[in-house]
């Protein structure tokens, strides 16, 4: 279940599927006929995780704490 964190915006839809008893990852490679797994979908999972959680949330919270530690660097010139 925690693996859902590795998905982004459509994770909630997959979660709803699971709650309804349909256990699938949705995307090709997880049981969909005629759609073979390709490594590009692994990239999708990694990218969604980076774009949804790591890059906006982690970096901006880091920037916030950095700005608090160096208030002189965020003053008007």
């Amino acid at each position: 279940m925690l693996d859902l964190l590795f998905l982004g915006e459509y994770a909630i839809l997959i979660l709803f599927d699971w709650l309804r008893g349909i256990s699938s990852w949705g995307l090709p490679g997880y049981g969909l006929p005629g759609t073979p797994w390709t490594n590009t979908f692994l990239l999708i999972y990694v990218m969604e995780w980076l774009c949804w959680f790591v890059i906006p949330v982690v970096t901006m919270l880091w920037w916030r704490s950095w700005a608090k530690k160096h208030p002189e660097l965020v003053q008007e010139l």
Binding site: G8, C51, P56, A67
Partner: protein, 523 residues
């Protein structure tokens, strides 16, 4: 019921238009100077600007064009084009935002060419950047008025040109009246509408399709469905090149070069709150854009299960996917939600058009005429001329609606990639590399502008996207981005170390040259 539903949808859209124009009229009284007009007196709450920037990034292209493209060509476009834009907001804060904001008052920065001119020095870089902005503003707006034209003409029962002209005119009127202040308030409303509409749309789509997995499995089982779901097959083996071009260069780092999005940073009240702009921009974009991409997938499901017509065959264009879904499907089944969704798409188009009108007008009146040829204008003259220039840009956009749709689509290809290629390399290097010089920056902006425009022409006319990508490996804009970046580095290494005054504030370790007057005094 469908006719009653469409009337309900039309009523919601008309109420929304009246509300937006009312805010424009109200904000007019609060404009006292060009600074109020262009950057809201640098006193706008960061959350409002985060919403505005996210709305400008989403634009009608993502709400309208992208679902159509996904319906026509495959789901991969969502992950290649839409998702990386989420990263563009924090990337902009990390590399550029702090300097843009904390230097804004000292150097009276209002536009992107302002920033480039103060860092690199010289007039030419301002002029090249301003020309790139005017071209991209006028032509990228195409996607917006196509969306507005199609939706308003469908829902109000007028022809496409009238619908498009009406939609643009509303945006031009409120932004000329109320400037940045009106834009910030209206877009906070617009984006709130977009978020609500997006969340409802996803819920409805889920119930229509019987679940996410069922939707994709059903599409996969249809003729051509496997290719539609597999990016390699969907792009005929060229998907990786498109992916690298957009995910790595244009959607993510390229966002730093989008004036309609990034120029909002000048208006933030407190520089220390920039992080919230980056976070809000990314998350709001991440909620809204994928939701409309999902609607493209839902419509595909409805088509393959016989619940929707083949949109491309019936309307001769995939651009009608969202129009069909909102006006005919939701108009019959849930008109209030359909009306909200339509208002959401129009709001997204306005978020971008008002930004383009401001950028285009400022590029003409301030960056070219005022900064390079008429530096003695009073603030009152500047404010008046900004409004006149914005009116000219607005009229140009309205005239563009008269061109045939095919030509407009072709011209729109210059859009986002053109902005990214022209401005992003010079902006990103200005804060991260101390070796930049005036001529390096000027040459880089010029190369980005020319390469992106030239290759766009080549791939749109004789080759087509897939053949172009297989032959040249990267998208036209990505080539402009990469070559612009290389040009700045190479030319900077071999030219005289001349820079603008802001450069020495950013790179404090580099000693500023003494002013000639000071040298004369010491001698």
């Amino acid at each position: 019921m469908p006719e009653t539903g469409i009337l309900i949808e039309a009523a919601i859209v008309v109420i929304w238009i009246v509300l937006i124009l009312g805010v424009g009229v109200w904000a007019r009284k609060r404009i006292k100077s060009s600074g109020d007009f262009m950057v809201g007196g640098r006193a706008i709450p960061v959350w409002m600007l985060g919403m505005w920037s996210a709305g400008a990034a989403v634009s009608a292209w993502a709400f309208f064009g992208l679902p159509g493209a996904i319906y026509a060509a495959g789901a991969f476009q969502h992950w290649a084009l839409c998702l990386p834009m989420m990263a563009g907001f924090p990337i902009t804060v990390l590399f550029l935002g702090r300097w843009m904001r904390i230097a804004a008052k000292k150097y009276n920065l209002m536009t992107m060419p302002d920033f480039l001119g103060e860092v690199y020095g010289g007039k030419l870089i301002r002029i090249f950047a301003a020309i790139g902005i005017v071209i991209a503003c006028v032509f990228y707006a195409t996607a917006q008025f196509k969306a507005i034209g199609i939706l308003l003409s469908t829902i109000l029962g007028v022809d496409y040109v009238t619908g498009a002209a009406l939609g643009i005119a509303i945006s031009v009127v409120y932004i000329i009246l109320g400037g940045f202040i009106a834009g910030a308030i209206i877009n906070a409303l617009n984006v709130s509408m977009m978020i609500v509409a997006s969340l409802i749309a996803v819920g409805i789509g889920y119930t229509w399709t019987g679940g996410y997995s069922n939707m994709l499995a059903t599409i996969a089982q249809s003729t051509g469905g496997a290719a539609w779901l597999n990016q390699d097959l969907a792009m005929g083996g060229a998907a990786w090149y498109l992916w690298i071009s957009w995910a790595l260069f244009l959607s993510s780092f390229g966002l730093a070069g989008q004036p309609a999005i990034v120029q909002k940073l000048y208006g933030i009240k407190k520089p220390s709150t920039l992080w919230l702009w980056g976070l809000m921009g990314g998350i709001v974009f991440g909620i809204t854009c994928p939701a409309y991409c999902y609607l493209g997938e839902v419509t595909k499901y409805l088509t393959v299960t016989g619940q929707a017509p083949n949109i491309i065959a019936v309307y001769k264009s995939a651009d009608y996917v969202i129009a069909w879904l909102t006006v005919y499907k939701l108009g019959a089944e849930a008109p209030v939600i359909g009306g909200l969704l339509i208002a959401g798409v129009i709001a997204a188009a306005w978020s971008t058009i008002d930004g383009f009108v401001m950028m285009g007008g400022a590029a003409i009146a301030r960056d070219i005429v005022n900064k390079c040829f008429r530096p003695n204008w009073t603030d009152k003259q500047l404010l008046r001329n900004l409004r006149i220039a914005m009116l000219i840009v607005g009229i140009l956009m309205v005239i563009e609606t008269m061109f045939p749709a095919e030509l407009i689509t072709w011209l729109a290809a210059i859009g986002w990639a053109q902005f990214a290629a022209t401005l992003a390399p010079a902006l990103l290097l200005s804060t991260t590399w101390k070796g930049i010089t005036k001529w390096g920056g000027t040459a880089g902006v010029f190369v980005g502008l020319v390469v992106s425009a030239g290759l766009t022409f080549l791939y749109r006319i004789p080759l087509g996207t897939r053949v172009f990508l297989q032959r040249f490996y990267l998208d036209a804009g990505a080539w402009g981005f990469v070559l612009g970046l290389i040009t700045i580095i190479v030319v900077s290494l071999i030219t005289k170390k001349e820079r603008g005054p802001l450069y020495y504030d950013i790179h404090k370790e580099v000693a500023a040259p003494q002013a000639p007057a000071a040298q004369t005094t010491t001698q």
